[in-house]
Amino acid sequence: MKISYRWLREYVETDLPPSALADRLTNAGIPVEESVPVVEGLGGVVVGEIEAIERELGESRPGHLNRLCRVALPDRKFSVICGAPNVAPGLRTALAPPGATLPGGRTIAVTTIRGVVSEGMLCSEKDLGIGDDNDGILALPPDAPLGTDFVTYLGLDDTIFEIEITPNRPDALSIVGVAREIAAVTGAPFRFPQVAVKEAEPEAATLTSVEIADPDLCPRYAARVISGLTVKPSPPWLAQRLRAVGLRPINNVVDVTNYVLWELGQPLHAFDHATLAGGRIVVRRARPGEHLTTLDGRDRALTPDMLMICDAERPVAVGGVMGGADTEVRPGTTTVLLESACFNPASVRRTSRALGLSTDAAYRFERGSDVEGVIPALDRAALLMADLGGGTVARGVIDVYPAPRPHSRVALRLERVERVVGAAPPRAEVIRILQALGFAVDDSGPVLQVVVPSFRRDIVQEDDFVEEIVRIWGYDKIPLTLAQAGEVTPVTRPADLALAGQTGRALTAAGLAECVTYSFVDPARLKAMGWDDPARLVALLNPLSVERSIMRPSLVPGLLEVLATNVHRQSPDVQMFETGVTFAPHRDADGDRPAHEELWLGVALTGQRAPRAWHASRDRVDIYDAKGMAELTLAVAGAPGAETQPWSAGEEPGYLEPGRAARLLVDGQEVARFGEVAHRVREVFDLPAPVFVAEVSLTALAARPLLVPRYVPLPRFPAVQRDLALVVPDDVTVAQVEAAIQGMDIPWLVRVALFDVYSGSQVGTGKRSLAWSLTYQAPDRTLTDAEVNEAHARVVRELARRFRAEVRGA
């Protein structure tokens, strides 16, 4: 909201310069975002009168006749060439004589145009930097004092503050509201505008009536009738005030309603009384099927939850939002019904949203207007309107206020301020602050009894006063002190978060990049990945776009998108991971959590394993890289030695390639999965090279008991190694062979490590050569060759029998 410094000073006697005032306001909770002079660089321009047009000089451009004008000041006359169409003898306007400066750094000098000397320039609104109108020179009223400095005349030596009022403070959305804050902060006296309306016969009640059919949406509606008005442009001072705060001057009647809105914060509306059917007002909800053409010329279909201002027959305004076009004040209007009312905030907000209409009135009503501000604003506007339009105000106010609101009374203990803030101003200062803000204070007892004015509906309990007192006293006076520790509690971190940190660090150390992707994904892509059942997904009701409308059921879709982004930006080798939450519909075990959420770590790899380097081979990543990242994660999380359980084709998740996907189980529980991304999924994401993914459930791992390392004495006797090389049919898996070895209960066998895998012409088709290193070690003595040989021979014999294995090099 734009606030004028000069305007403020009509209501608070402060000498603080604008910049200091802006700081004080900001520190009191009325943030001044910007502070700009009304005009910059305007100097030496004065009010002058065109006495005569001495001669015509021909067209400067088509339609623009240059004329030589004699412009009079009280003590001097100037000959000025002007091409404006509205140049006329007797017109008072802004003269920039030689030496004057205009905004934009222009200095006026004597010029010669086609041999004719021009002593200065006549100015348009735009030349002066006070408006956009450039069609003609500024027309001032006949009583504008000749020779007066133009800046003084229009009050242009002013600063405009752009202030941002928090939604709890509708009372500060006005000049008077901000002035009250300044008075409280600076201690300067505050003057509320006092108004004495000159009334004349007849009684307003003989001209109109007001009925509120829906008092829940309109607690108060007041009206006055002003007749005998002439609708015309507002005087320059009024037009300038409105322009300075960003409002467009329209005519003297409408401008007065806007002026009082800005000044007092009470929205007003003026109806052309002659256009109101029955000449009266009914405040009611819209009826089904009713329409209204609003002031902006648009036809609005109304719904029964919208509050309407109606005449005897039809809606004539959207209550608290915008007036109707049919009953608008226009040139020729002579009698005005002036509305000042209070509306239900939630209702105004709903209606304004539903109609897509945000207006200055709705902005205030939806934050809550002052029910007692209705009459002062009505009176102030009626007086001004009659003054500026030459009309008379009918006797009496029509004021329908069925259930007057009582003022609330709240007890305030001074020690509460100290208790909450850790510091407090003295009692006298507390009382001064509250009174300056408009609260009535009864300080006869130790506990203050404070009466809350109608414009501060945000103040309902004791702690609300704490903020009022301290913000005016100054937040900068709050000291920095740490409370003494009462009961001491240990610092804890949730297990899944701790795991996320440890595993993330391990994966970055392994060369992977961490990414963070949106939690919402594209349903079309999910469908292509096998999530075709909407019942398994959490969908947004009001997504910003359909591509971001489903809460991710897995980290893989987001990771594939990241891979695609990079591959298409000339980074074909991408190794990424993300740690984040996945979503599924609520399960019983989720309690009062609306959805099922799990923390996962996802890995996606494509392209070359290592950056090109003199010492690196150019190998592409493969499925074992993905599995390895899952195993690394499990190892770091204290769950090594997972069992690999491949999915049989068709059982794997829809985004993985059949036969190239498996689960990892720890203690029989699935904690991770990995595989190659299905070819058709890669096509959907436009990924040219094979992609491998791994997913690890940090939620599942976090549920396992924390693994604390336990010391085992170091072996004191030497270990003996024997190699084992077998050629087995290629449907025999490493896990099967190793399980068989472990199952034999071979004495002293402490380690089995696969060190070579070979398939090719040397072993024949359908076969594979596998080689392990077996380590034998006894805890209590040195093993003899004979003992080791015997144990190893048993392994070899047994495996050969069980897997139809040929033993190589034995």
Binding site: V420, L482, A483, T508
Partner: protein, 343 residues
């Protein structure tokens, strides 16, 4: 000592040969030939039996001296030749030590995680535990329990992302504060880091998803001064010892009094620069004393305990810290962006 001329002869010849030897293997064969079991010197000594008994000890001593002298000369010569051989080997296999070494380059940690980790670490040091809660929340935890009135604009479909069944995507991590307070009795001292969502269209400064760290403390003697001091300590860890915190009055439904907090601009130190838009201070987050209604909503007695809370945006801090000019970069995950954060 006058001795046997044959011994002297062996000595002189061997010394000359040692000096002329070209390799350690030459020296070894020389050693075997002269000093070995059937070497010249040994053989000579065995033949001493033919000498007069009086001369034998003298010649024996002479032979021992010669043996020692030759062994010393041999050892010295071996050392010299080994050094020479190593030098030749080095020369024949020349290394280019400017070649890059072998290691796995660590991948980058996402800038948001870096900032989050740093913040969590600072607050853990200040005695805060970490608390978590769901990202899909109920209206009750996200709004009602936090003293939002029923008709508050934030509850609109306009501003908040909703899911079926009346739930929504949390708009702040404050619901975690409610869940934490409901789950335990004071004292409470937690931070709540996590993802939050708003129905904002994406542009350079807005994202429908971002991260927050909120803090909450409830105890018998907590004041706004305590809150200010805690945030001041945070700022001095995060932004350096000269950093300071400023409070400005503000409004949040769940705190009373409420304050926005700024830190002294870490670029200009408060003098005013382009970074802080000439203001000298940079807005970091919101804070305040927990509203008595919120305390009552979780069954705490506002006469018995007071509390304070604060919240800040992780993206905002990352943007300021790393001078990132577009919030979308955080979620695009272009490797060329991420790799700037490898450390």
């Amino acid at each position: 000592v006058a001795g046997d001329p044959r011994v002297q002869q062996i000595h002189d010849r061997a010394l000359a040969e040692i000096a002329g030897a070209r390799s350690t293997s030459d020296l070894e064969s020389l050693r075997v030939r002269v000093l070995g079991r059937s070497g010249e010197l040994t053989t000579l000594l065995r033949s001493l039996g033919s000498l007069p008994a009086a001369e034998r000890p003298k010649v024996g001593q002479q032979a021992n001296e010669v043996k020692q002298a030759l062994e010393t000369a041999l050892a010295e010569r071996v050392e010299a030749l080994k050094g020479e051989e190593r030098r030749r080997a080095r020369e024949s296999e020349r290394l280019d030590l400017t070649l890059p070494g072998r290691f796995t380059m660590p991948g980058p940690r996402h800038p948001l995680t870096r900032v989050l980790d740093e913040m969590i670490e600072i607050f853990e040091g200040l005695g805060f535990s970490v608390a978590e809660g769901p990202e899909v929340e109920s209206d009750y935890y996200n709004f009602s329990a936090l003293n939002f009135p029923d008709d508050h604009p934030a509850r609109d479909m306009q501003d908040t992302l909703h899911v079926a069944g009346g739930a929504l995507l949390r708009t702040h991590t404050s619901p975690v504060q409610i869940r934490t307070m409901l789950a335990r009795r004071p004292p409470v001292r937690v931070i709540c880091p996590g993802r939050v969502y708003r129905r904002d269209l994406t542009d350079a400064t807005h994202s429908p998803m971002f991260h927050q760290v909120e803090g909450l403390a409830v105890d018998r003697h907590l004041t706004m001064a305590d809150l200010k001091a805690t945030l001041d300590l945070f700022a001095r860890r995060m932004y350096g010892a000269q950093s300071r915190v400023r409070f400005r009055p503000s409004f949040f439904p769940f705190t009373e009094p409420s304050a926005e907090f700024d830190v002294l601009c870490f670029k200009c130190g408060g003098a005013g620069c382009r970074f802080c838009k000439q203001g000298g201070w940079i807005e970091i987050g919101g804070s305040g004393m927990v509203h008595p209604n919120v305390l009552r909503n979780v069954g705490y007695d506002p006469e018995e305990v007071t509390g304070w809370a604060f919240g800040m945006g992780v993206e905002r801090i990352a943007i300021l810290k790393y001078q990132v000019d577009d919030i979308r970069l955080f979620f695009e995950n272009d490797l060329r962006f991420l790799q700037q954060f490898t450390r």
